[in-house]
């Protein structure tokens, strides 16, 4: 199978080739909308954007079903190249992990693209095309990354996602804040991507192949120090994309982008792909206990940090962004305690409820005239009932409301695995319990704000929100249903990946169940006091000044800027020392040889020989008078001479 090309697969009529079709509709929509030179009518543009978002799910669903239910493991080679002893063989593959993640990505992608047609309904034609093209390009890149069977396709998809993220955050190009946020996200993830690239290249050097399964074997067989370097680099790469400490600050800034972008890229799929990457390379990580331990520590630390920041946040989108940071921390914790299956289960559930939360919040923000402040959600219970109740369903899932919500089951799987971890499991579990409590406390804040009655001033204009169609309502209702009911999927997902849900002893179990309820109670009790609210505002201001961002600016960005200025011409004693080397050497040569010899008789003799060349050149130049007839005549004359030469050559 490895040496066969995809065309052989077509000839053998293997259904595996269909795997190539999965990212293609989204890529095609990007090419049509983004690169197509023709003018398209508006309904057609919307149709192409929607088709590119929905068709991957249609193509993928039967293939993923065959993989999950029948144990089918297709592998489609795309391109094979032998470089010396190494083999560069690109391929797409489907196994339970990639099937589950790809299903989630394509379903959330379909829902968000459908929603975004309403969201950008009033945008200008060029803006609409660019937005839909980039969303589709992102979807294609993410699907290629998830389905990749080799490290090159994986990294290509990974980088394309980062690029789309930059473009989409900065999609309001007139806003300086949006462009700065996009640049920040791009630079911070780029630093981490370099670590990922280094890890993949080291694995390639070990394996001599780019196929993921061979990389995995080679990573396990590598010497201990090298394995440790590879695992740490993988962790850095995942932390950058997933906005984990110390890279966490780009994600809240990225919320300046449009809401569908936040729902698709910066919560459900792309940001969580760090967890997917670590779950993919879990066999290598498990073989390096220190890195595994660091992963768990990083995960739980970031989870607590994100939860505390979310509690103090006053903007609903930034609150959700901090909660993404926190929830992905939970996934890393699960991977760190050796339960990547629980991490994947939490990834699935988190993608469902977090995209729902963003979409519902975006709809409510539209009713509030574009403001995403939590305070402006007041009265949404009556003004936007559908968005409010679906948001409440998502918030219940985020908080892990016992039994009723999907988030409860996946979080319980993570907590169970953490408690049963071999080293310091109880400590990690306790920290996770605190984080879960804080999660419930911040998740309920926007819901409480929505229940508050509408302020009397200006209510007349706000009471008539613009209507939304089924393109918005259907995704909201579907995702809300899944956010509540998908808890049933947690144990099938873990079983498909070859693990069982770990169970807690009775007392920790009761505490885990009670944590969200305690968080709710805490939030209701404390947030009704004005002094607490003021304290939160002060806390937010203080943390902003002492944030990791400020540290990065002082420790890295400013010294780097000074170095660059010093090496360039601004404010430096020597202008561009490197650039002056070549002209300096040439000037020294001229002074040493040409200048002393220029009055020499031999030199003049040589110049006399050259003298007739210039008049001859001028004479020839005069013949080139640019007249059509003269040139044609010269052409005909040349042809005649050539023919005469030919005839002479034949006779001679």
């Amino acid at each position: 199978m490895t040496d066969a090309s995809w065309w052989d697969l077509v000839l053998s009529r293997s259904p595996a080739v269909l795997l190539l079709l999965v990212p293609l509709p989204a890529l095609g929509a990007f090419v049509l909308l983004g690169l197509g030179p023709t003018r398209l009518p508006r309904p057609l543009v919307r149709l192409i954007g929607l088709a590119g978002g929905v068709l991957p799910l249609v193509f993928l669903a039967p293939l993923a079903f065959a993989t999950l239910a029948e144990g089918w493991r297709p592998l489609v080679p795309i391109f094979t190249l032998e470089v010396g002893p190494s083999l560069v063989d690109l391929a797409l593959r489907l196994d339970p992990l990639s099937a589950i993640v790809a299903l989630v990505v394509s379903s959330v992608g379909a829902a968000v693209l459908s929603y975004s047609l309403d969201y950008v309904a009033k945008a200008g034609m060029a803006e609409l095309r660019r937005f839909l093209a980039l969303m589709n390009l992102f979807l294609a890149a993410m699907l290629a990354m998830v389905l990749a069977g080799d490290s090159i396709t994986l990294f290509l998809g990974w980088e394309m996602m980062g690029l789309c993220s930059f473009f989409l955050i900065a999609s309001r190009v007139t806003s300086q804040r949006a462009v700065a946020a996009g640049r920040k996200a791009f630079l911070m993830t780029r630093v981490a991507d370099a670590a990922l690239l280094a890890a993949l290249l080291l694995l390639f050097l070990e394996a001599g192949s780019v196929r993921l399964d061979r990389l995995m074997q080679a990573g396990l067989a590598a010497p201990e120090t090298r394995r440790m370097v590879i695992a740490s680099l993988l962790l850095v790469g995942a932390a950058g994309k997933s906005a984990q400490f110390p890279f966490h600050s780009w994600l809240p800034a990225a919320m300046t982008g449009p809401t569908p972008v936040s729902a698709l890229l910066h919560s459900a799929t792309m940001v969580a792909s760090g967890a997917f990457l670590l779950a993919l390379f879990a066999p290598v990580l498990v073989a390096v206990p220190p890195v595994l331990w660091a992963t768990a520590l990083l995960g739980i630390g970031t989870s607590l940090l994100g939860a505390i920041q979310a509690i103090a946040e006053s903007d609903v989108k930034r609150l959700l962004a901090w909660s993404s940071v926190s929830q992905i921390g939970f996934m890393l914790l699960a991977i760190g305690v050796g339960a990547p299956e629980a991490a994947v289960a939490h990834f699935v559930i988190h993608a469902l409820f977090k995209s729902l939360l963003f979409l519902a919040a975006g709809d409510m923000a539209r009713a509030a005239g574009g403001s995403t402040a939590i305070a402006s959600l007041a009265g949404m219970r009556w003004r936007r009932p559908l968005a409010f109740f679906t948001f409440a369903a998502g918030a219940a899932s985020l908080a892990g409301l016992p039994l009723l919500s999907a988030g409860f089951w996946s979080k319980e799987a993570v907590m169970g695995a953490t408690f049963n971890a071999p080293h310091a499991g109880e400590l990690f579990w306790l920290a996770g319990l605190v984080s879960a409590l804080l999660t419930a406390a911040y998740a309920i804040r926007p819901v409480l704000a929505g229940l508050r009655p509408l302020p009397a001033v200006g209510s007349t204009s706000a009471s008539a929100p613009p209507a939304v169609g089924p393109l918005t309502e259907v995704p909201l209702v579907l995702l809300a249903g899944l956010s509540l009911a998908a808890g049933l999927l947690v144990s099938p997902i873990m079983r498909a990946l070859g693990a069982e849900v770990a169970h807690l002893p009775p007392l920790p179990h009761v505490l885990t169940v009670a944590a969200p309820l305690a968080g709710f109670a805490l939030a209701v009790l404390l947030l009704s006091r004005p002094r607490v609210a003021q304290g939160l505002v002060a806390f937010r201001k203080r943390t902003r000044r002492h944030s990791v961002d400020a540290l990065l600016v002082v420790a890295i960005a400013r010294p780097f800027g000074r170095l660059v200025r010093r090496l360039s011409r601004h404010g430096a004693a020597v202008e561009d020392p490197v650039g002056r080397i070549v002209p300096g050497v040439l000037a020294a040569l001229r002074d040493a040889f040409t200048v002393p010899l220029s009055g020499d008789p031999i030199d003049r003799g040589v110049m006399a020989l050259v003298a007739p060349v210039a008049p001859a050149a001028q004479a020839a130049s005069r013949r080139h008078d640019g007249q059509l007839r003269h040139q044609t005549g010269a052409l005909a004359l040349g042809l005649l001479l050539l023919m005469a030469a030919g005839v002479l050559a034949v006779w001679a």
């Binding site: 008078d625 640019g626 007249q627 059509l628 007839r629 044609t632 005549g633 005909a636």
Partner: protein, 107 residues
């Protein structure tokens, strides 16, 4: 007395050369773009006739000479279209169709 069949291609070749030469001379002596285009057409016709004559002489049973004629016709049509467009453009831009004045690339 009728011409022997073997000599027909030779005669045709001579005619083709004549047509080509007439076209070339027209192209050289006329300064007007329209007449130069006519000259070009004559040269193409000469070349096409040359193909037909050569095809007759070759007797390869493939009628490749005659087939080339079709290609030449297509080229001539494209050339006429392009040339006439240039002619119109020149009339609008320079106000005359005298190619001797078109020397801005040289000056």
């Amino acid at each position: 007395m009728p011409l022997p069949l073997e000599d027909v291609p030779l005669l045709l070749l001579a005619m083709a050369g004549g047509l080509f030469l007439v076209g070339l001379v027209g192209l050289l002596v006329r300064p007007s773009l329209l007449f130069q285009l006519l000259g070009l057409e004559l040269m193409l016709a000469g070349a096409a006739l040359g193909f037909v004559a050569a095809g007759l002489r070759a007797k390869d049973g493939l009628v490749s000479g005659q087939a080339m004629l079709l290609l030449v016709l297509a080229v001539a049509a494209a050339e006429a279209g392009l040339g006439l467009a240039l002619y119109l453009r020149l009339g609008r831009a320079a106000g005359s169709d005298d190619t001797d004045h078109l020397r801005s690339l040289h000056d």
